[in-house]
Symmetry: C2
Subunit: 190 residues, 2 copies
């Protein structure tokens, strides 16, 4: 059993997420999401990043992509990419990710959601960082693809992090950028 | 003439950059680089992001992509993407970007390069932020695609920013992630 102190896990959800008009959908895997999240997680010491999709063919695709970089030609060409891709775990549901973290750490993770929308009671990033520094439980940060996490996710988490505020009200960051900025704010050297 | 106070411009260089084995090359345009940089620049108030490539067919491609989101179908579907893409300027050389900033602001920009490698005399991000806050000149932050900016760029800039340090020595971030984290550190609300 590994130490649970200040361990922040990530999960990139492809379901349930919103599309442009607000329907709950399962979105497609984006190849560069896997690369960018793996590389940022490896940089900031995140022990695992779950790629969550209920669609079997999408999991097969994601596993083919990760296998290329872990055991295939990609691993020979770019060993540092291999190290990063080994952090990705393709799973069918959020429940499987939670279960895996509980098995790894002995405790169920505290669930944090992310959103670009302002809402009452959002957890400031500085407070989240303090919780990680004092934490004796694992944390799992949920990121939504498409137009963000569906309400059924936002309604069951322990906290929703404040959005990343820009300087002028525009805050349509890609999930790749938002994830990287959040890892830097929550885990980067101060 | 616009105010020059604290204006940080960005340039994504596709030449001269290094490839995996250290040769100086011209790299290809990556579609998601344009999206992610445009969206992050719009979020952090960067007035323009130059997409630099000497390859004419690559400039044609980049202009087709940006036109789709500024004047084409993309603009109807996602107006906020339009706002972001309007910040992108496709140019053939760094000299053209510098010239454009000088025309816009009345002053040639201070040039800052980025690198993932540790080097003597690197400018800490906190100091760079201070310079922006006190700055009476425009600044231009240079980002390299491929394996990073070639020595001929690093040798002529006013300063090289310190690399984004992770927590464990691994720092192979994507240029999309690195750009977003740097904008947050240099321009984000503290």
């Amino acid at each position: 059993m590994e130490s649970v102190m200040a361990q922040l896990f990530l999960a990139l959800l492809h379901y349930p997420v919103l599309n442009r008009v607000g329907d709950v959908i399962a979105s497609s895997i984006t190849n560069l999401d896997l690369h960018d999240l793996a590389r940022s997680c490896c940089t900031y010491g995140v022990p695992a990043c779950y790629i969550v999709t209920p669609l079997k063919d999408q999991r097969v695709l994601a596993n083919r992509l990760t296998a290329h970089w872990i055991d295939g030609k990609g691993a020979e060409i770019l060993p540092d990419r291999r190290q990063a891709f080994k952090l990705l775990k393709v799973v069918e549901s959020l429940a499987r990710a939670i279960e895996d973290i509980a098995l790894k750490t002995g405790k169920a993770p505290v669930l944090w959601a992310t959103t670009a929308k302002n809402g009452a009671g959002a957890l400031p990033h500085r407070d989240a960082r303090d919780l990680l520094e004092r934490g004796n439980r694992p944390f799992l940060l949920l990121l939504g693809t498409g137009w963000g996490l569906a309400p059924q996710i936002l309604g069951v988490v322990d906290a929703v992090l404040e959005p990343i505020a820009g300087v002028n009200g525009y805050n349509h960051l890609s999930v790749r950028s938002a994830a990287s900025i959040l890892m830097d704010r929550l885990l980067g050297r101060s």
